[in-house]
């Protein structure tokens, strides 16, 4: 396989609370290739957004990167992010209502971003802004409108246009459709798929929704308590989950199905532990039916590049 | 109590030196004022104990005529400044506490009712608050003071002056309480636990007092501390301007006013010591209030 576009190598993000060191992301390793959509899925507190922020260098105190490397196009970026950030990696946030400056025309915000990254005149930048809007499905004649005149879905398109302005190689989309209606969500996800395919942009899609993962991503990484539980091709992981947590997650997700009314949903007992209360060994063992003495003591490594569970050892 | 000792709040307090020091200073001042009659070497309100010959004694120096020594010197009438400050503190603190209590009760009640009931009562109260807000509270207090003075018969003016002062300052500071409480009430009343309370048939007053009130009180605490500092400053200002407490029972502001008169003739201590006391008091309350606000408001964390 080709060289990865981005490689996260044993990354840990920690915070100091009172006298404890808590790990929000623990020893996480991932690779992302050009043109693919990688899903980061997990429940709240699993560390998925934190991972996105770490790639962008947006980790603010009291959080800090306590160990590990982030390598982008062969270059380490975890210490010096200034020049990579924005020009090569962009981000899309969850709530489009607050990701645009309400007091500036969308055109101005686009032009400003383009001029920051490319040596072009204002008129050229303006033309480029128009074609970006067209690409994300917004009538370019609305370039001089203010953000509040757009609906939520339209605003998210503008945000995507902004994210595309520097022509990035990687886009990190953090729950980009959670605040939107189902019908609009489908359109935005289609747009992201189109961008990955036509532009060859890699996209990291952070979400809690297994349905979105199923319909959008090529590969998926399942996070639990800041650790990688399972990673693999989306089809493989969903069809044949190896890690008990992934199994539970897939089985407990309700699906649209005429027969599902009769069945009870599969349920995982308990809830994900708080950061200051992560159990020893495999963090999932108190909720796991297959846990044995080893699980309670030793944290499993990733076996066969797929699943971090002692069951997957052979 | 045990729960309090282990709470984040207390932990935070223990780890913020500013909060601890300001709280300690504030406590010392309060204690000094409360036990003024024990601590103070003289009683400044007792004319019999005054010796005019002791007037203008500089601090820690023997008086030219009587040979007496005073920690902070004396004023023009020979009153021991240290004792006078302690007694003055009592008046300042008393006025401050009472004024804040008045403003708080009034503001919380009006804000709660206005926010919960809405409608014309809300419009009326908030409109009035808006208009009052356009005038600085010190002006409002002065105005109320002036009006009260006009309404009261002259022989009562002197006796009632502290009461009038409390009412003036109290009425001039209710708006922030009302606004904050109304704002939080508007947020709380949309929450689903209130809808549930309605569904199980509680009446308006039960919902307001039992459900909403406990949930809107923490910002009130912050405002109360800050308003307390404001009220003390307002009292000092009014007394300084000569429209506050009478000079025979001087508060800190009155003392500073007296001190200013003797500044040009070189008797600096009459001004300086009351001024420092006032500053220490206001500063410690403000610092503590600031810390309280930062701690109780998770948004700024």
């Amino acid at each position: 396989m080709a060289n990865p576009l981005l490689e996260i190598d044993q990354l840990s993000v920690s915070l100091q609370k009172r006298k404890q060191t808590l790990k929000a992301v623990d020893n996480l390793s991932l690779k992302i290739y050009s043109g693919e959509i990688l899903g980061l899925v997990g429940e709240s507190g699993a560390g998925k957004s934190m991972t996105g922020s770490a790639i962008l260098g947006l980790i603010d105190p009291p959080l800090f990167i306590s160990s590990g490397k982030i390598i982008f196009e062969g270059e380490r970026i975890d210490q010096n992010t200034k020049n990579i950030r924005g020009s090569k990696i962009s981000m899309i946030f969850q709530d489009p209502l607050v990701s645009l400056n309400p007091l500036r025309r969308i055109g101005d915000q686009l032009v400003e971003t383009i001029i920051t990254h490319f040596d072009v005149s204002k008129t050229q930048a303006f033309e480029r802004a128009k074609s970006l809007l067209e690409e994300v499905g917004i009538d370019p004649s609305r370039i001089n409108a203010y953000p509040h005149t757009f609906s939520g879905g339209m605003r998210q398109r503008v945000v995507i246009a902004l994210a595309l302005a520097p022509e990035p190689a990687l886009i990190i989309a953090d729950e980009p459709t959670t605040a939107l209606d189902v019908s609009v969500q489908a359109q935005i996800l289609d747009l992201l798929k189109k961008l990955a395919k036509e532009r060859g942009t890699a996209i990291i899609l952070i979400t809690h929704d297994m349905g979105v993962i199923a319909e959008t991503t090529d590969r998926v990484a399942v996070l639990y308590s800041g650790r990688l539980a399972e990673i693999g091709k989306t089809a493989d992981v969903l069809k044949d989950p190896k890690h008990p947590y992934t199994k539970g997650l897939v089985a407990s997700t309700p699906r649209i199905d005429a027969n599902s009314l009769l069945e009870k949903l599969f349920q995982i007992p308990g809830a994900m532990p708080d950061l200051d209360n992560i159990p020893e060994g495999c963090p999932f063992h108190p909720r796991c039916d297959f846990a044995d003495a080893q699980c309670r003591k030793e944290q499993p490594p990733l076996f066969q590049n797929r699943s971090a569970c002692w069951l997957s050892k052979d | 109590m045990n729960r309090f000792m282990q709470s984040d709040f207390f932990y935070h307090f223990r780890n913020t030196p500013v909060a601890m020091i300001s709280f300690a200073v504030f406590t010392c001042i309060i204690l000094a004022a409360v036990f003024a009659n024990i601590i103070a070497p003289y009683n400044p309100f007792d004319p019999a104990s005054l010796n005019l010959m002791n007037g203008f004694t500089p601090p820690m120096q023997a008086n030219d005529f009587t040979g007496e020594v005073f920690l902070m010197g004396t004023d023009d009438q020979g009153r021991d400044l240290f004792s006078t400050i302690l007694y003055g503190l009592r008046i300042s603190l008393f006025v401050g506490v009472m004024a804040v209590a008045l403003a708080m009760v009034l503001g919380v009640l009006l804000g709660l009712i206005a926010g919960f009931l809405g409608g014309w009562f809300d419009v009326l109260i908030m409109r009035f608050a808006d208009i009052q807000m356009t005038f600085p509270s010190i002006l409002v207090a002065m105005l109320i003071y002036g009006v009260a003075k006009g309404v009261l018969p002259p022989d009562l003016r002197y006796e009632m002056s502290i009461t009038v002062l409390i009412i003036s300052i109290g009425l001039s500071e209710w708006v922030p309480f009302a606004r904050t409480v109304r704002g939080s009430t508007l947020v709380e009343k949309e929450k689903e636990y209130i809808i549930v309370a309605k569904m199980i048939g509680l009446n308006k007053w039960q919902i307001m007092i039992r459900h909403i009130l406990p949930n809107v009180l923490s910002p009130v605490l912050v405002i109360a501390t800050i308003t307390f500092a404001l009220a003390i400053i307002a009292e000092a200002t009014l007394s300084f301007l000569g429209v506050g407490v009478p000079t025979t029972k001087p508060s800190l502001g009155t003392l500073i006013r007296i001190g200013q008169d003797f500044l040009f003739s070189g008797e600096w201590w009459i001004l300086l010591f009351p001024a420092i006391t006032l500053l220490a008091l206001a500063l410690s309350i403000n610092l503590f209030g600031d810390w309280l606000r930062d701690t109780l408001n998770p948004k700024l964390k």
Binding site: K82, F93, T116 | P136, G146, F240
Partner: protein
């Protein structure tokens, strides 16, 4: 609306507080004298007629005569107004300029030495009553150093109905201490507000987006953050401007500055009702004018408001 209300309050004070008949005639007046005066003052007419007349006269700047000195109140105020306005204007300018600059500085350079210094000084500034600042300044600069005058306006130049202290050296020197005294408190307020707003805006998603798009700090602070903090800052500054006029009472007393504030405090002292109610109206008027300007500025800054105004929505 506000003005009418203020007018009503001042009318009530005017009418019911400290019976003007008694104030004018003294307690020994005969019944006939009283009746004649009540007739002359129009006190025997119904309340609403009296109120209407009061408003009507106020519109023509006729507030009756001061009880003391028997001069027309309007004339008294006119001679005192320039002094107060010059003082207020100077200190407001001082407060706004330094307040906004230090506010932005302390928000951007969080935790630096200078920031901490400014912040702790400002807390002392808030805790120091205005009059104490004045007294201490006099002590330092007038009594000890003998640099600046401690009271009065110095020499003034008459420009028709306006007398100004701006044109003479002694006038300008006299202005320094009072305007610092008056402006310091407002400055700390504006500074703390600017800082708080700036910090809040800098945490918004659209700032994070701009950051992730690689825009420079300069662009973020001035292009994105500054316009968004202008609205609250303008509101408070407007309110403070009004307060400055009212706070001038204290400063004018400390420095024996011959303005309307000094007039008012004497009026309170001697229960001179016409002067009190006229002063109240004056301050109310100032606030209405300031609010109008503030509202117009809003429209200039915020496109959302502009649109809703054009559609006629509220």
């Amino acid at each position: 609306m506000v003005l009418l209300f203020v007018a009503f309050i001042s009318f009530l004070i005017f009418r019911f507080v400290g019976n003007p008949v008694e104030s004018l005639l003294g307690q020994e007046a005969t019944v006939a004298q009283r009746a004649a005066l009540e007739e002359a003052l129009g006190l025997n007419e119904p309340i609403y007629v009296q109120y209407a007349k009061f408003v009507w006269r106020a519109l023509q700047f006729d507030f009756g005569n001061s009880y003391r000195g028997a001069l027309p109140v309007a004339e008294l105020i006119a001679t005192r107004l320039p002094a107060t306005l010059e003082l207020a204007l100077t200190s407001a300018t001082f407060a706004v300029i330094f307040g906004v600059i230090t506010g932005i500085y302390t928000a951007i350079h969080r935790g630096s030495f200078l920031t901490n210094l400014i912040l702790s000084t400002s807390l002392i500034g808030v805790s120091l009553p205005t009059f104490l600042i004045g007294v201490l300044l006099i002590w330092l600069f007038s009594v000890e150093l003998n640099w600046l005058p401690s009271f009065g306006r110095g020499d003034v130049v008459d420009l028709g109905w306006w007398s100004t202290g701006f044109l003479t050296l002694s006038g300008l020197k006299s202005l320094i201490l009072p305007s610092i005294t008056l402006g310091l408190y407002q400055m700390t307020l504006i500074m703390r507000l600017t800082r708080a707003e700036m910090l809040e805006v800098l945490q918004q998603d659209f700032i994070r987006l701009a950051k992730s798009l690689g825009q420079s700090n300069r662009q973020i602070y001035f292009f994105h953050a500054l316009p968004n903090i202008l609205i609250p800052v303008i509101t408070i500054t407007g309110l403070q401007l009004g307060s400055v006029i009212a706070f001038a009472i204290i400063t004018e007393t400390v420095f024996q500055w011959p303005g309307v504030g000094l007039l008012f405090i004497n009026a309170v002292y001697f229960v001179d009702i016409p002067v009190m109610s006229a002063y109240l109206l004056l301050v109310g008027f100032a606030f209405v004018v300031i609010n109008l300007v503030v509202d117009l500025l809003y429209l200039l800054i915020d496109p959302r408001l502009r649109d809703s105004q054009m559609r006629g929505e509220n």
